[in-house]
Symmetry: C2
Subunit: 314 residues, 2 copies
């Protein structure tokens, strides 16, 4: 019997592209996404989970392709009116998007876990994959800057990643546990464990910071493959390259692979870096990892899976 | 010096029509509306104040003339999406309307009073009148039915006023105080105190149930005039006539005037009831009280003010 299930650790937009590629090439129900919740925060009285939401919208085909966040065909009457009424509008919430946050916040107050709520929302959105928040315990990514700590969304959205990042702290991670669903997903036989091309320091590190997570990944026995978030000396999107420079790190695949050392068995790097395989601490493969179209996403998913299958062979 | 200030007790839609008429005929800043908060409730994690909102939307020209509640030019993407996600949709909230509830809920959580928040919202909406919630203390109108008590919005919106109403209870009213702003408004010299043609049992009774409110109304010394909510044996809108029948009350001006006995100095009845002045316990005047157009609202406002002025003359 072939083992078909694949698990993928993911942050927001970049990671969700790979998740969609995987969902499109794998048999229905074979994908479990373990999603960062360190970006989650309370805003306007609502619990907002940006990476989980991006996974939900991307995997249901509702994501906004222009913005890279939120829903397609969105309207903004809530936000426009909130501005008139003097409310906080630095974090944009579309009219339809808002329903997700209101529904989730209400169910959290009623005592449901984020995992239960996310599963129900995924079902309502007819998503054929499992979307698993990394933990049901609160973890808050804090960005350490020369002027003190900033909550993640203040840094990322309100201040457009402008402050210099000296380090990240994952508040609450030391007391958090992987959710029961994540633990169960990592205790089943898996074809591969992938680390999506999300920001390692901001989006994947919080997942790995949860006590027990690294052991679950290692003990599963499936090959663990990271897909590069950098190519040709820069990042495709977002602040990854800026952050690496601020951390005095070279923007190379080797830097990312070193960050994942002890977790990964292989590293998938981009064709633009095919010559930069010096110092890679693990086996590597090369592919065109730029994901623009859905066909690109399928191609990268297939490359990552083929590489993982290769690593499995004795 | 002429005393120009007018205070009007009001519930929702019917009362707001008179408020708008008064605002249109009075000098800017002369009107204070004391609004029922017994209908307020928590829904979807939001604090919703239907009568205060109706006053805000009506007095800012934003009210939806078709629906009789909410805003004009409204969109419903939030609600449509919430339904897809399995949320509660029996209480309709438009996309722009939602901003008001979110802004208010957030400020309440930050410790502002409903009075402060309402004043700020009224200013943002450029309303030239004072919109004063009757109290900053929670009062919840409960409808006593043969099958037990129902929270007001369950009765009014979810069940469309179908259950038989045996009585109303204003939970919390005995511990509530008139707000400081209401107390101050009632301690200043007033040209008139009006009771809008809202439902006496559902919308005005909660205001009068607050300890000290009747004394403030009486001690002001201004003539207190109620405008009839019934005409020709029925109510213009809403469940007033149904409720009066269930309370075994004749649907006549005299019944309403008797309900307000001890509070009012005069009763403005409708031309359709000009012959039904038997048993009126207070002086009366007659006017066409049907308010459809803005001109109607101005006309009724002027009739009520003229009658109050007459009552003031020794």
């Amino acid at each position: 019997m072939t083992i078909e299930k694949v698990l993928c650790l993911s942050g927001g937009v970049g990671g969700a592209k790979l998740l969609l590629g995987l969902q499109r090439v794998l048999p229905r129900g074979s994908l479990a996404a373990v999603v960062n919740t360190g970006d989650d925060f309370d805003h306007l009285g609502l619990r907002i989970c940006p990476d989980v939401d991006t996974a939900l919208y991307t995997l249901s085909g509702l994501a906004n392709p222009q913005l890279g966040w939120g829903r397609r065909d969105e309207t903004w009457h809530f936000m426009e009116t909130l501005e008139v009424l003097g409310g906080d509008v630095w974090f944009r919430l579309g009219d339809a998007d808002l329903a997700l946050h209101v529904a989730r916040t209400q169910r959290l107050k009623q005592g449901q876990t984020l995992t239960e709520i996310t599963a129900e929302l995924a079902e309502r959105l007819a998503i054929p994959s499992a979307v698993l928040p990394m933990s049901d315990d609160p973890v808050a990514t804090m960005v350490v800057t020369p002027d003190g700590e900033l909550p993640f969304q203040d840094y990322f959205v309100r201040l457009h990643c402008e402050p210099v990042l000296r380090a990240c702290r994952f508040a609450g991670a030391d007391r958090a546990k992987p959710s029961a669903a994540v633990t169960a997903a990592l205790r089943q036989p898996l074809r591969a464990i992938l680390i999506a091309p999300s920001n390692p320091w901001l989006s994947i590190a919080p997942i790995l910071a949860i006590p027990g997570m690294r052991e679950l990944l290692r003990d599963n026995g499936a090959p663990v493959v990271a897909i590069t978030p950098v190519m040709g000396g820069s990042a495709v999107k977002g602040p990854t390259a800026k952050i690496m420079a601020e951390l005095n790190l070279a923007v190379t695949p080797a830097t990312v692979a070193a960050f994942y050392q002890g977790v990964i068995d292989g590293f998938l790097l981009d064709v633009r870096d095919a010559a930069s395989t010096n110092n890679l601490p693990v086996p590597h493969a090369v592919a065109d990892t730029l994901m623009t179209t859905d066909e690109d996403k399928e191609r990268v998913a297939l490359s990552a899976l083929a590489f993982a299958d290769e690593l499995r062979r004795p």
